[in-house]
Amino acid sequence: MIGLVIATHANLGAEILLATEMIIGALSQARAVGIRKEDSVEEIRSAVAGAIDDVSDNEGVIVMTDMFGGTPSNISLAFLEPDRVEVLTGVNLPMVLKFFNSQEGLSLAELALLLQSYGQQGITLPSQFLNR
């Protein structure tokens, strides 16, 4: 199974995992890493490395981060490695739910691509398509 790490500012990632569990039940091969103001780059790097290690098997890991250009993302990008670690920025709940619901038969690269598009589709402006 492809593993999941969510790397974010503060506890956003851990809370997204809790929200996911509320909807689909207990999760496996998922970890959150939250950075705090006082953390050094080295501490964050080793937390991300440890989390990737924890959820890895031979199918690879997707690291979702909260924002392209932010520290969790910048540090995670150092771990990019074809077929082993893929990084996807702008994590949201639909993307995380889809991660657990669509893995079967997909390679790491295929899953990452699908989740990118699914995460984008998860952002909607309902007044554009609902008539009151």
Partner: protein, 162 residues
């Protein structure tokens, strides 16, 4: 194939249904039998919009849904059938909707309801409805999401003190 899961869920179509149950049972049709929602176009549109393309959605009154099942139009589909209450589930079975098992998903509190688990709270009339329904055949269990253990509903109410 027709009905693969029948569930009482006071929230009807929501996250647990779409993200946990639909993929778990490979449903390709969601049927909501609810007189109130059937008459509320905004709520109806909202529910329809939340369901991924490729999954058929039917929202109707209990009577309309009963007629739909007796037409056998849904027979080729894998249907997830939703009711909002025990009363609707019982009425639906009396109207001839042919479900053989009933999942108690979310039945949240209200005045006079006794909370029996994290997601189930029942009152005397729920117990009466479910008892009457059980006599008619359906096996009744509680299971909020697929990874929860399925539990016989009688086990839930044994501590209710009646």
């Amino acid at each position: 194939m027709s009905i693969v899961l029948t569930r009482i869920d006071s929230r009807l179509i929501h996250g647990q249904v779409l993200e946990a149950w639909v993929p778990y049972i490979h449903a390709n049709c969601i049927v909501v039998a609810n007189d109130t929602v059937a008459a509320a176009s905004f709520q109806k549109n909202l529910m329809r919009a939340a369901v991924p393309r490729g999954i058929k959605v039917v929202i109707g009154t209990l009577a309309e849904i009963a007629a739909l099942f007796s037409s056998h139009d849904l027979d080729p589909l894998r249907v997830l059938l939703l009711f909002a209450s025990s009363e609707d589930a019982l009425r639906a079975h009396r109207l001839g909707i042919p479900f053989e098992a009933l999942n108690l998903g979310n039945m949240h509190g209200g005045e006079g309801k006794v909370r029996l688990s994290c997601t189930i709270a029942l009152d005397g009339s729920d117990i009466a409805n479910l008892t009457n329904l059980e006599v008619r055949g359906p096996k009744i269990v509680s299971q909020c999401v697929p990874s929860d253990r399925e539990q016989d509903w009688r086990k839930l109410i044994q501590h209710m003190g009646q």
